[in-house]
């Protein structure tokens, strides 16, 4: 459902472009690294809707996995075999690029992670993930913005790049940021449309009928083959967003730090296994990572991409071949600066007794420890700042060491 948005939002976009004069990126953070000069890039990708970590990096060595994930569980054989990462974990087959980076030791997985948030509201979960606070309700600034503020000011400083029509909370705050949005953004995505049709079906049959017809007409107009292709256009849009952002970040005087968000991960129904809805989305994410790698060129060597989501999903599939809101999930790291080729996990197992509240993968790693590890070793922020300002009241959460090559 991509649509040209220029006509509707010219003034804001033009303002953003005009405001993004790169000459204004007056000075860069200085990074004291023993191993010579580096000019690091950090890209934070937020997956909104709660990614099913068990479906993305499947613990196929866990004896309970196949039973819990049922019909959508991944296997290492069959027509769409999962891609083994080690003897225990296997990657979703829709992510061959990430698998390659992993083999090249430029990508890593952190499993059974979660923010400190333990309820199951998307909004609040995203607040916690992005604000960096220990609880919801603090939506004024994001941890990445405060990290930029805390960077030692060298002769030049970088602003953060917010990709998309609005800045994600993670990058909002007092540090200067600039925005960029591709000319075409997905408008109402298929998931939103499906939810609305569902609401209308229960509450307003006349509107349900009208909207369903309208959506059908559009598929005809776009030459769609009428088969359900959830998120079809979204995939292309994800790549496109990444391609554009990479181009900006790659510039010599481009932003060093960027954040963007991909929507659509709330797979309550018909999540799909090796193929299907989640597979499509993961394919888009994989494509976006490949676009970052290609677009950043030589800069990729000094780049870390962090992919994170607000929480995980239930270990056991529900009655509609999907998963409901859960707790533990994964975070992904990719980039030339990553010390990869590893799945980092203190595996809690999927035994019923081990599941959080009897339903979710139990979190054994605090997601903030991952972020802190990257901010420490990649950007040179010190632990005190991280524990006080960037992630308030988190001194007890120690950075994971050794994430950066």
């Amino acid at each position: 459902m991509e649509r040209i948005t220029t006509s509707l939002l010219p003034s804001r976009r033009q303002w953003m472009l005009a405001g993004a004069s790169f000459a204004a990126w007056a000075y860069l953070p200085k990074f004291a690294r023993a191993a010579g000069y580096r000019d690091p890039r950090l890209i934070v990708v937020i997956l909104r809707g709660a990614l099913d970590g068990l479906a993305t990096v499947a613990p196929i060595g866990d004896p309970d996995y196949a039973g819990l994930h049922g019909a959508i569980a991944l296997t290492v054989d069959g027509p769409h075999p999962a891609l083994p990462l080690d003897s225990f974990f296997a990657l979703h087959p829709s992510m061959p690029e990430f698998a390659r980076m992993y083999r090249e030791q430029k990508a890593a997985v952190i499993h059974a992670v979660a923010t400190p948030y333990r309820e199951r509201s998307h909004f609040d979960g995203q607040d916690v993930l992005e604000s960096g606070f220990a609880g919801p309700g603090r939506v004024q600034s994001g941890w990445l913005n405060r990290a930029i503020e805390a960077l030692p000011r060298g002769p030049r400083v970088s602003g953060g790049l917010a990709v998309g029509p609005t800045a994600p909370l993670v990058l909002r705050g007092t540090a200067p940021i600039v925005g960029w949005a591709p000319v075409t953004l997905p408008q109402a995505d298929d998931d939103t449309a499906m939810r609305l049709v569902d609401l209308y079906t229960h509450r307003d049959p006349a509107l349900a009928s009208a909207l369903s017809q309208g959506l059908k007409l559009e598929k005809v107009a776009f030459g769609d083959d009428m088969k359900p292709r959830p998120g079809g256009n979204q995939i292309a849009a994800m790549r496109q967003v990444a391609r554009g952002a990479a181009k900006l970040i790659a510039a010599d005087d481009g932003p060093r730090i960027a954040a963007l968000a991909f929507d659509g991960w709330d797979t309550h129904a018909n999540e799909g296994g090796a193929v299907g809805r989640l597979a499509q989305l993961l394919s888009g994410l994989d494509g976006a990572l490949a676009e970052f790698e290609a677009g950043l060129g030589p800069r990729w060597r000094d780049t870390v991409v962090v992919v994170a989501t607000e929480f995980g999903r239930t270990a056991r599939i529900n009655g509609t071949q999907g998963t409901d809101h859960g707790t533990g999930t994964i975070a992904l790291l990719a980039g030339g600066a990553v010390k990869g080729g590893r799945v980092i996990a203190d595996w809690p197992t999927l035994k019923l007794a081990s599941l959080y509240q009897g339903r979710d993968l139990a979190p054994t790693t605090d997601l903030r420890a991952v972020f802190k590890g990257v901010l420490t070793d990649h950007l040179g922020l010190n632990e005190n700042v991280l524990g006080g300002v960037v992630f308030p009241e988190s001194a007890a959460v120690k950075p994971i060491k050794g994430l950066i090559a």
Binding site: A188, T192, L211, D263
Partner: protein, 511 residues
Amino acid sequence: MARDPQAALVALNRFGFGARGGASGDFVNAASDPRGFVKAELLRPNGALLEVPGLLATPALADAVFAYQDEVKRTREAAAKSEVASEQPGQTRGLSMDAAGMPVTVPPAAASPSAGTAAAGEPAPAMLAAPAKPAPPQQPPNVVQKTFRAEALARLQRAVLADCGITERLVAFWSNHFCISAAKGELARMWAGAFEREAIRPHVLGRFADMLKAVEQHPAMLFFLDNQDSLGPDSRAGQNRKRGLNENLAREIMELHTLGVGGGYTQEDVTSLARIITGWSFAGRNGRNAAPGSFVFNVNAHQPGPQTLLGKIYQDNGLAQGEAALADLARHASTAKFIATKLARHFVADDPPPALVTRLEAAFRTTDGDLKAVTLALLDSDEAWSAPLTKIRSPYEFLVAGGRLLARVPEDPGFYLNSLNTLGQPLWAPAGPNGFADSNAMWAAPEGMKLRLDISAQLASRLGNNLDPRDLLDLVAGGATSAETRRTIERAESRQQALALLLMSPEFQRR
């Protein structure tokens, strides 16, 4: 607190433009006294007038458009001279004035060479450094477009800020009832806002007869329905120029403005009324007897002699002949029924309760067309409060309601104007003199709903992450929210998605 959430929804959505966001307290106030909430706005003296610095009267706007047209002409002639050697036909496109009077502007994307060469969606770093456009040939600023946008902005701001919005809803209703089209030409586009300010607004809570007269004598209406070209066949001008009647305005006065189709008039009556209003015109660019753009009665174009209209003889006493005819049309029984039906259809249901129509019709007749009394009769009726909210908001109502909820006072009308075009309700420019249809069939159509969803998603993607959709839901519908809608909003995967769904929810779309 909220005593009657369902009635609050009626007050806010059926009669107003929806609850405002922020700390307006609209829903709570409407719930505690639904009728009082709506009526309070009607008690304000001159509450419908729109007087904004910079918005000019019709004659001044005519001056400006004529001056603009002259300058365009001079510029074009100068450009033609200078381009004899190097022919660049594309360079003058920006000046063309097509028949519809829509200014032809180059869209921003095409105007910039760097954006034009980059693939869609690619950032164009060249643009970031310096949006260097080749200097376009000197052209006069388009005063027509500038005026139209300023008028639109003033109207939108008023609607977004209004307490309840009943007055602005009435303005929009009457403006559509007595519509002109800005697509008729530059004068119509220039005058569209002034027409509403001068002919509609002063009377939406006044007398129907006064509005009718103000409308039919306004240059914008005379221009829109060609009455300045209608000459009495036996008038001096008709004899000299061998031309005659144009029935356009006369027919629409009876068919669309007063009696309604089937209201008891014949073709003979149309012709009679056309003769009666010959000479109703406005001063043009070389107006001799009056300032350009002001109403004139041109006695030389007026058909001499008495005329029979609906069985009554009107003596030829010049301008007064037509005014007497309009006054009678305004209080005709068919008019009362037609207006009552239209009002009830607009506010209550596509097929309004007959008892309500009867009640409004009686109010219209007993008060001699006092529109405030008719509006109060609507608000005091039980039917208007008990009828289920089955109508869908028109695109204009939807967009204004969105602006109110999101507490975004428009500073630029662009988003609204573009969205209205997309959704098929271009501001002040319906396809015909019958205005935009007022039915679910028109606005709850498949393509329209899909586009509404796209626009909602777009609004939400820009604004959604600063707002808590659960709070907004309480502002929109409070205790009247259905469990299904609440669940849908709460389960949305992001604030943006939740806001898009909220804007599309039956609680927000229905009124």
